[in-house]
Amino acid sequence: MDDPALNAAIAANRFGLGARPGELARAGADARGWLSAQLAGDAPQLRGTNLRASADILSQALELRRERRDARAEAVAPNAAVVMKVAQLYRPIYIDETTARIGEALTTERPFIEHLTYFWTNHFAVSVDKVAVFGLAGSFEREAIRPHVLGNFTELLLASTQHPAMLLYLDNQTSIGPNSQLALGAARRGGERRFGINENLAREILELQTLGVSGGYTQADVTSFAKVITGWSIGANFGRFAGGTPGQFVFREQMHEPGAQSVLGKRYAEGGMEQGVAVLRDLVQHSATAQFVATKLARHFIADEPPRTAVDALARAFHDSRGDLPTVYRALIGLKESWAQALAKFKTPGEYIISSLRGLDVPVQYADKARASFALLGQRIYSPGSPAGWPDRSADWDGASAIMKRIEWADALGQKLGAHRDAAQLAPQWLGGAMSAPTHTSIARAASASQALTLLLTAPEFMRR
């Protein structure tokens, strides 16, 4: 019942990023061992000499805003002009970041870790359709996600919440306590502007990153948690909020709502930034968080509607280890449910593209050109469009028009590479024990090499993982 050929295919295709030629042989007789071995050592970092730190990128963007500010006597709409300049600054950065990311996916020998990185980037989602994060989504992943993928969930949550990309995406950088020094000072001076909180980040942390929407929090919890993290902001060297290192996370005491706050029935004494850190740490220990994270992991790596037993086992591993992620991953690998059914998941467009290019052993130089494919098939990199991240069920991706696009894309790729690849020889190296007889026959009987490749790329087994 434990079929090694099938397990190798599950390990490489469902847990990894899709088998490269030779990978199924390496996963071989011990698929679980092949996955566990990838957990050893530090998480890999992206290569690329032109990848810049977010603080560096952001301080350059802030500089553009300052120039505009200094020159605002001009009678042009200042906001639109700055947004355009920032977008111009960010576009090549986005290109470099996504090229490096695709390149890593094409070549990595630890595809399970890369896949987990994608999972967490999607869990702590920022989206580049908001211009403010267009140039920061890549560095967010490199700085807040990658270093902690093999660490603890608490580190991941703290790093994400304190990253400028997340603060900007969910509008926390100018959220101000109504009784903060800054708000009271402005009121004394009789300023027109009312200062107050912005709930966005606090709500989405509770709803989408920790407890989950039915995790038992109330509107009052959202509001007090938002007050707790007032002052979690970004450094700048000009303007009303000057202070800190430009482009880096900074805690601004003068924006912070003073006093104790109650979140989920627990009182948090005033403690500046530590008040927020304490709430985040407690959220990770909450049983609803374990359940929520476990459900998402199981939905992603086991099935759209994962078995209760699998979710509970993962939740226990998360809770008992206090969020130690390698412990949770080992539990996932060890579950019999993880191996019970091959091809249980319908690939997202991104998974489909990456597994195609890995299977075809496309050289890393192709990474830059491959970027367009993600937008074409409906999953532009770093643009889930909402803080919930990309959805993760078959029905979200298996629309008729979506499938037709995959087929057309596969056919274009088949025609391009057909002369250089042998589909009949590749098929067992991609699908292994999951290959069906009709697929085998169809490829064997194809009218041309490029048609054979199209048939392999569009095979039902290859649409799924």
């Binding site: 576009r91 986005y94 290109i95 359709d129 509008d171 100018t174 959220s175 101000i176 109504p178 027109e192 502007r193 009312r194 200062f195 107050g196 909180i197 912005n198 709930e199 966005n200 709500r203 709803e207 989408l208 929407v213 509107q219 959202v222 830059d368 050109k369 367009a372 494919s373 937008a375 074409l376 409906g378 909402s386 919930a388 078959s394 029905a395 991706w397 298996d398 629309g399 008729a400 028009s401 979506a402 499938i403 037709m404 696009k405 087929i407 057309e408 894309w409 056919d411 274009a412 391009k416 009709p438 697929t439 169809s442 009218a447 048609q451 199209t454 048939l455 095979a459 039902p460 649409m463």
Partner: protein
């Protein structure tokens, strides 16, 4: 290898879906008796108090401060609806439609959802139930399943989702189509046939492939290849080079983000034999910071939507008089401006019903007021009108869905929400 037209392929291949294509002559104009319904989902929670400012409410200007929309007549002021409400100054087409008695504005309206999660809110907006995740199908799909034969598409699916995938509101037992513009070359007949064969034992993929081919052929037949190509004219160059191109260069820059989807929707709906119901999304309403007032972020989005609706009317031509467009969002936003010149998640919102078949020129609202005591939980516009009442009224009067089906299957457990009568011209 020569690529051939898909409809020719289907004709020769004789797929089940090919029944769509047996007639090559398809009438363009609407017959005047076949209703069309468009549902536009504003994802992200539209701020109803900016889109439809209650300028006559004494608390409005105080709550909104510098971003309050001024009374009609003032610079940047609202477009007058009545003594209490106006439309945002960017909504010129909707204002004209109101004058032409083709627009109903609903205010202080909400679905049964009372929490503040976008994603659960959208789930309820689409599933037609009182709770999120109560059903895995949507109210439009269940309404399509209950359509009387003379209101259904003459051939093929009665509903179409404009997008690569089908949103929850359109998922369910009734087969529906999805369509998005393709920038890639079509496959040759032989390869397509082999893929069809390869999918024959895979129920999901074979169904989807048949649907895609059928929809494409409706698009081709109804609009003519040249018209459909025009929908993608901004992208014409992409077709050949997309696989290798940088999307940053290829991405069409258009002042009207809905142009392509509206053009396609109108093409499908104009067809006398095609789908009766179309759905698409409009994104970008989650205005937590720097929302703007008469001008700014939200004003720009409202202007784009308004321009899109104007285009839809133009492109539908005579079919507009048989058309009802419902525009709704998952919930509203806080009554007061927050600390970052935006608004946070709220409760009741505004919604729009526009179209040639709408008995318009009215605001339907039981206005709860914006005094602190009147606000829901002290922060949001209070809901006094059930979204389901409006939707039931439209489905009953426009698509002739029976009251029994509306209460039992389309909006289960909605007996409290009586259908609003007379939303649609008799």
């Amino acid at each position: 290898m020569t690529a051939i037209k898909r409809r020719d392929f289907i004709r020769t291949a004789g797929l089940a879906a090919g029944s769509l294509l047996m007639t090559s002559k398809i009438a363009f104009a609407g017959s005047g008796t076949r209703p069309r319904f468009v549902f536009i989902i504003l994802r992200g929670a539209l701020d109803g108090l900016t889109a439809v400012p209650p300028y006559g409410d004494p608390y409005y200007a105080r709550l909104r401060g510098e971003v309050a929309i001024a009374a009609p007549g003032a610079a940047g002021g609202a477009l007058r609806l009545d003594g209490l409400f106006g439309l945002h100054p960017s909504l010129a087409f909707l204002s004209e439609s109101y004058g032409a008695h083709e627009l109903i504005v609903f205010h202080a309206m909400a679905s049964p959802y009372r929490e503040r999660s976008h994603f659960d809110g959208q789930d309820v907006l689409e599933n037609g139930c009182a709770h999120a995740h109560a059903l895995q199908s949507g109210w439009i799909n269940r309404a399509l399943a209950a359509l009387p034969p003379d209101r259904s598409a003459r051939r093929g699916e009665s509903g179409i989702a404009l997008g690569q995938n089908v949103p929850l509101v359109m998922r369910g037992p009734a087969p529906v189509a999805s369509w998005s513009p393709s920038h890639l070359a079509a496959l040759d007949e032989d390869t397509l046939q082999r893929i069809t064969d390869l999918y024959s034992t895979d129920p999901l993929l074979s169904q989807r492939l048949a649907d895609a081919l059928a929809t494409q052929s409706v698009a081709d037949a109804a609009q003519g290849d040249s018209a459909m190509a025009a929908a993608s004219e901004d992208n014409a160059q992409i077709a050949q080079t997309q696989l290798l191109a940088r999307p940053e260069q290829a991405k069409p820059k258009s002042a009207a983000p809905y142009k392509e989807v509206i053009h396609a929707a109108a093409g499908f709906l104009r067809s006398d034999d095609g789908p009766r119901v179309a759905v698409f999304d409009a994104l970008g309403w989650d205005t937590h910071a720097n929302e703007g007032g008469a001008q700014g972020q939200l004003a720009g989005r409202l202007g784009n939507l308004d321009a899109g609706l104007r285009l839809l009317k133009e492109e539908l031509g005579p079919v507009w008089r048989d058309t009802v467009v419902m525009i709704a969002t998952e919930f509203g936003r806080t009554a007061a401006v927050n600390g970052t010149r935006g608004t946070d998640h709220g409760t009741a919102a505004a919604a729009f019903l526009v179209g040639g078949a709408v008995r318009g020129g009215r605001v339907i609202a039981d206005w709860p007021g914006l005094s602190e005591r009147a606000l829901y939980q002290g922060r949001d516009l209070a809901p006094t009108l059930n979204l389901h009442s409006a939707l039931k009224g439209v489905l009953a009067d426009h698509l002739a869905v029976s009251a029994c089906a509306l209460d039992a299957s389309v909006f289960p457990d909605s007996a409290v929400a009586k259908a609003l009568p007379d939303l649609v011209r008799a």
